[in-house]
């Protein structure tokens, strides 16, 4: 099967050549209007504000061939493009979160056919958006990840297993040493996982009384995972900004005396993980 190479790319979209990408919704006002012109959008174009009913959506105009349904799906399957869009999306949200909070971040790839449709969503949902923004005011999201690090124990086992015990042939010794090492690895791995699970169980405990909401993400694995250990818990908490530093310290202290476990805290983030209820009253589906 061959694909004709002479077919021109970028067949015009039925609804026009341009679409409107939405990054976040905040309260329309001087702060939001001031931050927008300094930001670049997913396609590098300028970010602007669409205002309606006291709310402002941070948007940019993007080309329909790259951000229409098929263009977008293609881009998101390409890790380099996905990363570029994700980082652009985040930089708009992060700047607005820093300078014009509270901000309601949108999910990646929130693209409308035109500005009028974005304004219509603001108008239709303005009561709910306002409630959500009120709830998010003066709050930040902190991420906390707990890792098991079996190597902390395996290191000792490897040293013990390097020599061939006296009175044995090198072949048999090597085989036994390997088995010993393997068993020690498994024991070490199980112990590290138990210790990590215990620490993970106390993460919510430490946040209790401070955090107002909790979200659980999938444990991280694969090529993009940045930590050498095994991620056993990946959670996010919505926290009043004045308690964020204390909570961060409390989480770090959980694994201070436990070499097989590490705790990583990220943020403060815009409240990405706490916007699910944005559509709850209307959608009614599960998150």
């Amino acid at each position: 099967m061959t694909t004709p190479s002479h077919v021109p790319a970028g067949v015009p979209a039925a609804a026009g050549d341009e679409l409107t990408y939405v990054y976040a919704v905040g309260r329309d006002g001087p702060a939001l209007r001031a931050v927008a012109p300094r930001l670049a959008g997913a396609d590098g174009g300028p970010v602007r504000v669409i205002g309606a009913d006291g709310l402002g959506a941070l948007v940019s105009t993007v080309p329909a061939d790259a951000f229409g349904e098929s263009g977008l799906a293609t881009q998101l399957e390409d890790l380099a493009r996905l990363e570029a869009i994700a980082r652009a999306h985040h930089s708009v949200i992060d700047a607005a979160f820093g300078e014009a909070p509270p901000i309601l971040p949108m999910r990646l790839a929130t693209v409308y056919l035109d500005d009028a449709r974005v304004g219509a969503v603001l108008t239709r949902r303005h009561v709910h958006f306002r409630e959500l923004l009120d709830r998010l005011e003066n709050h930040v999201e902190l991420g906390v990840k707990v890792y098991a690090d079996p190597r902390a124990v395996v290191g000792t086992a490897s040293v013990a297993a390097t020599g061939t015990p006296a009175g044995q042939t090198p072949g048999a010794g090597a085989g036994r040493a390997y088995l010993r090492q393997r068993r020690a690895q498994q024991r070490g791995g199980r112990a590290a996982h138990r210790a990590a699970a215990e620490v993970a169980g106390r993460v919510a405990e430490v946040a209790g009384g401070v955090a107002v909401s909790r979200a659980v993400h999938r444990p991280q694995q694969g090529q993009l995972a940045t930590h050498s250990g095994v991620n056993v818990a990946n959670e996010a908490y919505l926290v009043p900004v004045e308690h964020a530093d204390r909570l961060r310290q409390g989480w770090h202290a959980l694994a201070e005396d436990e070499p097989r476990v590490s705790v990583e805290v990220t943020g403060p983030w815009a409240p990405y993980s706490f916007t699910v209820s944005a559509e709850a009253p209307e959608g009614g589906g599960n998150p």
Binding site: L72, T110, L132
Partner: protein
């Protein structure tokens, strides 16, 4: 761009030359979190979730889950 503005935009870590946000932490939030709006979206969110699953599969297939210990 002034230093003051830079620290406002990037946050202290990045303005000070610290590590940027990890992509995986960002994708956790941008593909699973963020407000999901309705009405005239060009791509339904269900498609984005599919993309997420496909991407993870690709990532796993690249690295392999169990590196051989010998």
């Amino acid at each position: 761009m002034s230093t003051e503005l830079l620290s406002g935009v990037l946050g202290e870590d990045e303005a000070a030359g610290g590590p940027p946000v990890a992509l995986i932490d960002l994708l956790d939030r941008l593909l699973n979190g963020g407000a999901v709006l309705t009405g005239d979206l060009v791509l339904s969110i269900a498609d984005v979730d599919l993309v997420h699953i496909n991407l993870r599969a690709v990532i796993r297939s690249v690295t392999g889950e169990e590196p051989a210990p010998w």
